[in-house]
Amino acid sequence: MMKPPTPLVLIIDDESSIRDGCRQALEKSGYAVLDAGEGDEGIKIARDAKPDIALIDLKMPGISGMEIIEILSRDVPDTVLVMITGYATIVSAVEAIQKGTYDYLPKPFSPDQLRAVVRRAVEHRNLKIETRRLREEKERMEKSFITFVSHEMRSPLVVIRQYIEALKAVAGDRLDRDMTEIIERCGARIRSLETLVEHWLDISRIGEGSFAWKKEPLNLLQLIGRSTEEMAPVCKEKGIRLKTDLPDQLPEILGDQESLLRVFTNIIGNATKYTPENGGITLAASSDDYYVTVCISDTGTGIPADKLPFIFEPFYRVRGKEERQRGSGLGLTFCKRIMELHGGEISVASTEGQGSTFLLKFLPHMRTEQGMGRTSVDPATPFRPF
């Protein structure tokens, strides 16, 4: 690793003895030091030199330390600010910290105290910068990952499926049953890999903020209707009763029709995998002052209590390897992310041997008098009645 450059410390204090003392103590410890005897000059130096640390005397003639702190935390946000004060009251300390100071140094202080505070401030700055660098790196990687996956991973899969189509077209009539089955199975595996890639892309896009979704007033009853219609054939084939238990009216919610439809069909689809023949899946809905709730329950095998906390994690499989071929392993992760995107919640309750219940909670959409879309509760601070 590269040796870090010498940290640069700026001292703004009207007392020359303090400036000189600080300079000596810090230079001896290997810091580079700049100083200013009054606020305006200090601000100018800080803007030009962008020091790592600025020590600011709170009580000076002219522009006050508190004002300097305010200006510097705005203009040179990477500089860590430490205030020096002979009047270290709680009130002024709190105010300074609220304005962006990291620490304070009460007068009188010893060179050791000064060095300790400055060392801590330098560490704080390095961590701050490292954190930001890592966050930017992560965001960049997420973005390029999405581009990579969508272009570089999907196109070979598309081509392989096109070759399979070509093979069937060219040689279909010459292939015996086994060969045809091999080709069909290859096609099926390629399709499930494509699905996996698409699900993963969706989840990445939600995380990265580029998932395309429309926010419009929705009637969940209609959406439940569409999802049961879509899933009815699968249930019928498996001998599972698909029922609804719905009120006549539900408050509208704000959301994306297509992705929520996928949430519902995903959960119903999951339920069909774990519900035996003659079992049932029920969709119920209700509302109160805070939430519109959809409840999807099944009479299936249920989920062991120790596995419940993990079922929304990517690729988590309740029954391990034996269910390897059952979908992408991202279905419930997708559901959770979509619900979060809507400011809603998803939770699950289950008793082994009796079945599972997925609870989807949405914030109702309140129309204001102007007819503008607004939710009654700010999604950033969801109100939790229990």
Binding site: V159, Q162, A166, A169, D202, R205, E258
Partner: protein
């Protein structure tokens, strides 16, 4: 026996070209391949095909659109059926390409991969339903 109908296929993926060519030849068409938009437009003029299939996304995003406009602007390109190929997932699952209203006419937008029977059916519809063998 009538001459085989000619189809021009423009796509920058060699494998996709080859696979699709096999399907089209099985359907009884004569197939011409172009690996980029520029070659595609040139071949359009020299070959004068009965139909062209253009990939939307080649060297650059939307290259296919400009190829389509150039072909439509030629004398022979006004009424010849033109298909566009699109990979479903460009910006997200719900944003597959739909040509804007002011855009030159596209006879069909096909999603990649395209099923052999669908491809041949769409082409047969456009070329008068005459199935050749």
């Amino acid at each position: 026996m009538t001459a085989k109908k000619r189809i021009l296929l423009i796509d920058d993926d060699k494998d996709f070209l080859f696979a699709t060519k096999l399907i089209l030849e099985k359907g009884g068409y004569e197939v011409f391949l172009a690996e980029d938009g520029k070659t595609g437009v040139e071949m359009w003029k020299s070959v004068a095909p009965d139909l062209a299939i253009i990939d939307m996304m080649m060297e650059t995003w939307g290259e296919g659109f400009s190829v389509l406009s150039k072909i439509r602007a030629t004398d022979t390109g006004k009424d010849t059926p033109l298909f566009m190929l699109s990979a479903v997932d460009l910006q997200g699952p719900y944003n597959s390409f739909e040509p804007p209203p002011e855009f030159p006419r596209v006879n069909a937008v096909l999603q990649k991969p395209v099923r052999a029977e669908d491809l041949l059916r769409y082409i047969a519809q456009e070329l008068g339903g005459k199935k050749m063998s």
